[in-house]
Subunit: 307 residues, 2 copies
């Protein structure tokens, strides 16, 4: 195999109560990439028109991931990476993770599938480290594995795929303002109350149990974050109006996607998720802020090869 | 039905990382109780020889639970409660919870099964409030439901039964020293580090996922508590020696049972759990402290009627 075309999904991390440990993949939103072998041992990058990303491999997350994999495999070839970037950088739905995970998956195919999924996640985390300074796994893990992915621990990496109920849909609104991951980390408090932590771990346990039981109501009751959301939501215009609107429209629950500015809501069934999209639209239509709204089933496959 | 005999299981709460939200029931350790109708509207209590508990209904957890249920049901009869107390009070394996849950289950039968499981748990929590000042659910919920029980929230009460893998066994050592729940609560810090909380919720999510996946190794990796155990374990003689010994003997993991002084370990298979019991015995045999060691399968049924 000398060339492969793939779809790399957008992902939602920091799933409400499950800050820093859980993410899930979307089906209808993601990047497309073509990775082809080069005879010469080098990495080159090109972009579909309209994107604006660094082309120098050491400054591009795909380049960094690819270089580490080629080095580890002691490969005798180089690659060209063409990126059709459909996830807007800075959106909070795993733009850098999609490029990183997509590269890891695709290059592994060109290398003859020599790496495990866990190793691919570790390579993709190098891209996350370049993008945000922190090699977090909660976007790249679901991007590679599909479904919900739990990063129980980062050092050592311990990732577990959690199945998603069949009728679970996600609606995401991306207000096109800039929220830097770095800043949204800075405003978090270093200390939290034990009693709030106890509520939070009750909800996390409830969320995981709800996913295994296909218990939509339990998933909804568990999507409650008393620790991170109250602090970070101040960076997102109309967050509380959005939340009120998606709950009123019948969403199970939701919160900030990643470190924002995107906001996600989970719903049972596509019709409900569409009503949630309409409600989000009503809130933002009145503002002068540009925004996109995505509606997607949970993606069970992760990165896939496109034929 | 005028009389019922039941078995009410011992329970382990505060399951390592899952402080205050999770407990599980034991199969081979528990109280026996006989509850019989009285024509007169009153509650009387008697004890099997060797026990020492208050006999006045308002001072006895079983009496308090029974009174609340009789009042709520507007019952036209009274009851006599005979308790064969086999779980030592103050052991940290749910002694008060067994009496409370046993009473709730048994009296509901005599009342014609008019209450739901959730209501029974709420009645039993009144006994816990009398015993420790806090109406916690993490012992009475597994005592009534069996298996592992998650108390996602206490107000309002939201309890979810989590299945236990078939080969999961528990070994418990009860050093016969006194640790008051009240004191072991007092020494906890009110504030914790967010980064420790994040590790903890990774482990909680891992533990719940491990139980659903029957993944013993994942259960073991997740039984890690960086928040409560380091503080409370100082009240338990030789805690770190016990932990080192049970891990060396091949236990998946373990920690403090309830608020102590009992220490539990989970193992895959009965043989392994016996080796763990031997290792715990070796640690404590050298001390002058009296102790009991219990070995039990996880109890999937909770309180049961004895014929």
């Amino acid at each position: 195999m000398d060339k492969i075309k793939i779809f790399a999904p957008a992902t939602v991390a920091n799933v409400s109560c499950a800050f820093d440990i859980l993410g899930f993949a979307l089906e209808s939103v993601g990047d497309e990439m073509i990775i082809s072998k080069l005879a010469e041992k080098k990495i080159t990058i090109s972009l579909e028109e309209g994107s604006n990303l660094p082309l120098a491999p050491e400054k591009n997350v795909a380049g960094v991931v690819a270089q580490a994999m080629l080095d580890k495999a002691n490969a005798n070839f180089g690659i060209h990476i063409h990126i059709d970037k459909r996830i807007k950088p800075g959106s909070g739905i795993g733009s850098s993770a999609a490029s990183s995970a997509g590269t890891a998956y695709a290059l592994n195919k060109l290398l003859g599938n020599i790496f495990t999924d866990t190793e691919l996640i570790e390579f993709a985390m190098l891209g996350e480290a370049l993008a945000s300074g922190i090699p977090h796994a909660d976007n790249v893990a679901p991007a590679i594995l599909g479904g919900f992915a739990l990063a129980r621990s980062t050092h050592p990496l311990d990732v577990i795929k959690i199945p998603a109920p069949q009728e679970l849909y996600c609606t995401v609104i991306h207000p096109q303002i800039e929220v830097k991951t770095e800043n949204s980390r800075k405003i978090l408090k270093k200390n939290i109350l034990l009693k709030n932590a106890v509520s939070q771990w009750g909800n996390i346990a409830g969320l995981i149990a709800g996913l295994y039981r296909n218990d939509y109501d339990l998933i909804g009751r568990s999507l409650d974050d008393k620790i991170v959301e109250p602090v970070r939501s101040i960076l997102i215009p109309l967050f509380s109006e959005l939340k009120q609107a998606f709950l009123k429209a019948g969403a199970l629950g939701g919160g900030i996607s990643g470190s924002g500015p995107s906001v996600f809501a989970l719903s049972k069934g596509k019709n409900r998720a569409q009503k949630v999209a309409d409600a989000m639209n009503d809130v933002y239509a009145k503002t002068g802020v540009d925004y996109d709204i995505h509606l997607s089933k949970i993606n069970e496959q992760g990165v896939i090869e496109l034929k």
